[in-house]
Amino acid sequence: MVTTIIYTILSLSLLGAVAAVVLYFVAQRFKVFEDPRIDQVEAELPAANCGGCGFAGCRNLAETLVKSESFDGLFCPVGGNTVMARIAEVLGRQAVTQDAKIAVLKCNGTCEYRPRTSIYDGTASCAIASALYSGETGCNYGCHGFGDCVEACLFDAMYIDETTGLPVISDEKCTACGACVKACPRNLIELRKKWKGNKKIYVACSNEDKGGIARKSCSVACIGCSKCVKVCTFDAITLENNLAYIDSDKCRLCRKCAPECPTNSIIEIGFPQKKEKIPETAGNNPLTVNKD
């Protein structure tokens, strides 16, 4: 009885030892060298796996960062400059900095400004509604408000405001990963330069119709009058397809354009209230101001 147990232990131990030796040599033979810096870089990345950098996940970005010679076109929008600086330290390279960005919605067609012309009772998805028709209002370009962007946001930075029917983007939580930009079937969300104090000034409209038609469907639509273009001293505003666009890289936040806009489609957020010029109805529109 005892001998059986001893034999069993011995034979199994021997088998284990042989297997260990075989496995050791096999492991040596098929060893794959992996740069240890990949793990280090990955540890620095935020592990959000959001895809904002253009790669499938943080690991893929880490691999590419280590393998590539420079940081050209490689940037983690979630981690931002601090994370990129730490990665540069790990890799012993010069850090590159990029302006922080923030997502903004280029539509201010709230229920109040943009009257309903039809009722949609289909699937609550912007992509599907958009494929079926132009939407519940007369505007062919505006927000559907079903929240495809909210669903796409991995950082809980968006929600649909019940009263306005539009998504609200939290300045604190938004990482500018760009998931919402891709999710919006109407390309209403833009990543713009993030200013100190979350100051924002942009054309909150994407309607490319001619002035009269645009105005008819939405009272705060850009009518392409080009008044803002003329007043801008930094050439930051361009007019294309009856729609003004403020380049956030060129804009200096001088705030000359907003009071010029006859339809209040240029939105200013985060600025101290101007006392004399703007009457209460103009300019600042509290409905899209972030509430966090």
């Binding site: 012309t117 289909g122 699937t123 998805s125 599907i128 494929a131 028709y133 132009s134 062919n140 119709d209």
Partner: protein, 444 residues
């Protein structure tokens, strides 16, 4: 036992309220908005300018490229503007607005109604004439007919199939046309046979139209090689691939065209338009439109000039009643709900359907109970219960390997689903995305 296709299918209530109503000519409207994109393929390019005087049947826009179609004026008058107008897609598209002053037909268009049996043109001339006349598939898909007739090299057509099925509930436009113009349709079939170089033609008609079947059989007996097939009443019997399967037993391969199995199919409306184009020199400027619905006073079949606003048709049929839930262009299964009633009639408009509130409302979607009914009814043998979540999760590779591109958007799955799940909505969205990927891959 009637012939039919074997895979899937549903049988929604037929509700052919306007059956038996004659085709009434609809008065020429004061203003028409003729859309430049009334066909599959590239939009036509306007060749008239603001202020130009045009006559009925005059070419006003030329097809751009191979897959496109010519557009003709449907009235006589002055071009008031060329502007975007909301079409059935719900988006604004370019259209030529013409204010009608009279109804004077262009140059050599023959407007008499005598049956002209003698076919003078040869095959190439016929195809050319059809191209010039802007004829597209009038069943709804609006595929340019001259493209269908230009059989690619190396392929050969054995049969011509004429689609008189009209499987969509409510619609009776094709039915009314068959009762009205059987002789013309027969000559149209002879023209298409000549153009394709085939000797045999098969007409498929659903068994719920016995009068049309009898009449077409009577007229077909005068010709050789034309046969009428009564088909089982089952939706989507009128789907091209389903019809081909039912009549010939041949199955169009996945991703293939009917001509791959030696068949070319045309709708009866198209066949009539071909007759008028070839024998009477008359371009496609009008079509039969059914105006129907349970709460419409006088369901009717109108012969309507293209560009007539839908609102006018509804008015003529008794007006919009209180409990109208949706206005649909096309049939209840595949038609499109309209956002506004001022949408112009286009070449693909087979009907205007007013659904009551209760008919139009959609139930709240419930979780899938895995009953598999959607799989059982899918005429293309797909698995909608699987395609929907794959589409929601953007699994495009998997969608492609599950043959999502074979979906013809008949809506049988959504119709049958006991959990009221919006299967087709998501399948269509997935199909759009996969289609985009396939197209971009081809470009590379």
């Amino acid at each position: 036992m009637f012939k039919t296709f074997h895979k899937g299918g549903v049988h929604p209530p037929e509700n052919k309220l306007s059956a038996g109503r004659p085709v009434e000519p609809f008065p020429v409207p004061a203003t028409v908005a003729i859309l430049l994109s009334q066909h599959m393929g590239a939009p036509a390019k306007a060749i008239v300018e603001k202020g130009a005087a045009v006559k009925t049947g005059q070419l006003i826009a030329k097809g751009e490229g191979f897959l496109s179609g010519n557009i003709h004026s449907s009235v006589t008058g002055k071009v008031s503007r060329i502007e975007a107008v909301t079409d059935a897609s719900g988006y604004k598209r370019q259209a030529v607005f013409i204010e009608a002053v009279a109804d004077e037909w262009f140059d050599d268009i023959n407007t008499d109604t005598l049956l002209d049996k003698e076919i003078k043109l040869n095959a190439a001339e016929i195809i050319n004439k059809i191209n010039e006349s802007g004829i597209v598939g009038l069943g709804g898909a609006t595929f340019p007919s001259h493209v269908k007739l230009s059989v690619p090299r190396g392929k050969k057509a054995d049969f011509l199939i004429v689609n008189g099925v009209e499987c969509e509930p409510y619609l009776t436009a094709d039915h009314a046309l068959m009762l009205e113009k059987p002789g013309e349709i027969m000559v149209g079939i002879e023209i298409l046979k000549k153009a394709l170089g085939v000797t045999q033609a098969h007409i498929g008609i659903e068994a719920n139209k016995p009068d049309a079947i009898a009449l077409m059989q009577k007229f077909a007996s005068e010709y050789t090689g034309v046969k009428v097939h009564p088909l089982k009443v089952k939706y989507p019997q009128g789907g091209e691939k389903q019809l081909i399967k039912a009549i010939t037993g041949r199955e169009v391969p996945s991703g293939g065209l009917p001509v791959d199995v030696g068949v070319v199919a045309f709708n009866v409306g198209t066949v009539f338009a071909v007759y008028e184009a070839v024998q009477k020199n008359k371009p496609l400027i009008e079509r039969v439109v059914t105006v129907t619905g349970k709460n419409i006073k006088n369901p009717a079949n109108f012969r309507v000039r293209l560009g007539t606003p839908v609102a006018g048709l509804i008015e003529a049929a008794g007006g919009l009643s209180e409990n109208t839930g949706k206005i649909i262009m096309g049939g209840p299964m595949m038609g499109k709900a309209l956002a506004i009633a001022d949408i112009p009639v286009v070449k693909g408009t087979s009907g205007i359907l007013l659904l009551q509130d209760d008919e139009a409302s959609r139930n709240k979607p419930q979780p899938c109970v895995r009953c598999g009914k959607c799989v059982a009814v899918c005429p293309m043998g797909l698995e909608p219960y699987l395609l929907m979540p794959l589409s929601q999760k953007n699994e495009f590779d998997r969608l492609e390997s599950e043959h999502i591109m074979d979906c013809m958007e008949c809506g049988s799955c959504s119709y049958i689903c006991p959990s009221a799940r919006p299967l087709l909505d998501f399948v269509r969205s997935g199909k759009n995305n996969v289609g985009k990927i396939i197209r971009s891959r081809k470009k590379q």
